[in-house]
Amino acid sequence: MGRELALITTIFKKDLVSEFRAKESVVTMVTFSVLILVLFSMAFEPSRRTVEEILPGLIWMSLIFSGILGLNRTYARERFNDCLIGILSTPIAPYQIYLGKAASNLVQLLFVEIITFPLYFIFYDLNLKGSLGILIIIMLIGSVGFILVGTFLAALTSNLRANEALLPVILFPLLMPVLLAAIEATSAVFTGLSLDQYLPWIKLILVYDLIFLVMPLLLFDYLMEVD
């Protein structure tokens, strides 16, 4: 177990160091996310009630779109110099590559969230009626679900032509359950509903996370086969 975790950590650290040096994904993701926020705040002047209704959807959609920019880079980096073949020639199992990359993608997305999330409150003058702690948990588990399925599908499309355009097309249908649940749960926290009223949405996100944690572990070997 310790050895397996060490291999996952090795991929995770390598991806983060590469990204830290190249600054290819995170800078683009943050810029894109902030641009959406600013453009929407300039385009509409909604009432407070409307803000509470639309903001959860806006937050999640901007995160998903900016997250996709990062996902597209996940395997592009490995294609350069045929690095993926280099990794696959070592004793690491494909599922360990997947988990290392998913963890790295999650950290990058959370970094974007930490920067942009407070800006939504500032730009839309929003007062949170529910618990900030629960909101953070919802953001975390929703992000985990998105990254797990996104990292898996990014591997699936990485060797295809027009993969950057293809990824969102196949990702969004699969994201619908977690996206819907995350938006509903976030909206409930914004409007100050009691936990009982949105607990089913949180449970749905957790089940989704579990499914997309296990499924790629079973299928990733096939995705990583080299012709």
Partner: protein, 232 residues
């Protein structure tokens, strides 16, 4: 020792490898020649355990892939015309990354040893994107040897190298051979690296067209045999 037994591989309707068997005893240096599309690189990828054959098996030492794929990969080092190196990382970080994937102990000492061997000690902490093609290939050699593999597989390793790089790689191959490493090199060249080769396989249309020792073989003879076998 590395052995591929009855290996076949098909891409779509094309039979890239047709029931090929190859055995390279410990310490032997074998070169695989053949035209484009003969199946050379596919054979190398299968022997390197990064591509699965449709049928057949690979044995390294006395271990089969079916039982111990991870252990087997520890015995193989690959040098390709692609470096497999990350440009944003330093030479040290690249070697550390691959060393960790091989689960090596005492990694620091081994990194210094291999980087000295390829003459890049002064560039150890430089990011790889600043490296010339020759430096990249030297670091690629260090990466392939970091875990002291028993079997070295080379895929067109001389591609794009200048004379200095060619000399250095030839020196490394000579050194590996003198240390009784098993070496298989896929190449297009009749010259580069061929001085130390013990045996030549000519691959054509997914089959072994010729298999002969290089003892007393002149370069002209090799070219004649090659063109005879590939033409038919």
């Amino acid at each position: 020792m590395i052995e591929g037994i009855n290996i076949s591989k098909t891409y779509g309707s094309k039979n890239v490898l047709r029931d090929i068997s190859v055995r390279i005893p410990m310490g032997e240096f074998v070169a695989v020649l053949g035209p484009n599309g003969a199946g050379k690189s596919t054979l190398l990828k299968i022997l390197a355990l990064i591509s699965k054959p449709d049928s057949g098996q690979v044995i390294i030492g006395d271990q089969s892939l079916i039982n111990t794929p991870g252990e087997l990969k520890r015995k193989i080092g690959i040098i390709s015309h692609s470096s497999f190196l990350y440009p944003e990382l330093t030479a040290y970080e690249n070697l550390q990354f691959f060393g960790r994937l091989y689960g090596m102990d005492n990694l620091e000492a081994q990194i210094i040893a291999v980087i000295k061997k390829v003459g890049l000690l002064l560039a150890l902490n430089e990011q790889v994107y600043t490296f010339s093609r020759g430096m990249l290939q030297r670091l690629s050699i260090a990466r392939a040897l970091i875990h002291n593999p028993e079997v070295i597989l080379l895929d067109e390793p001389f591609t794009g190298l200048d004379q200095h790089g060619i000399s250095l790689l030839q020196g490394v191959l000579r050194d590996l051979k003198s240390n009784h490493k098993t070496i298989l090199m896929v190449t297009h060249s009749f010259e580069d690296g061929m001085n130390d080769v013990d045996r030549i396989l000519i691959l054509n249309k997914g089959q072994i067209a010729a298999d002969f020792p290089t003892e007393n073989l002149l370069s002209e003879d090799l070219k004649r045999i090659y063109h005879e076998k590939v033409a038919c």
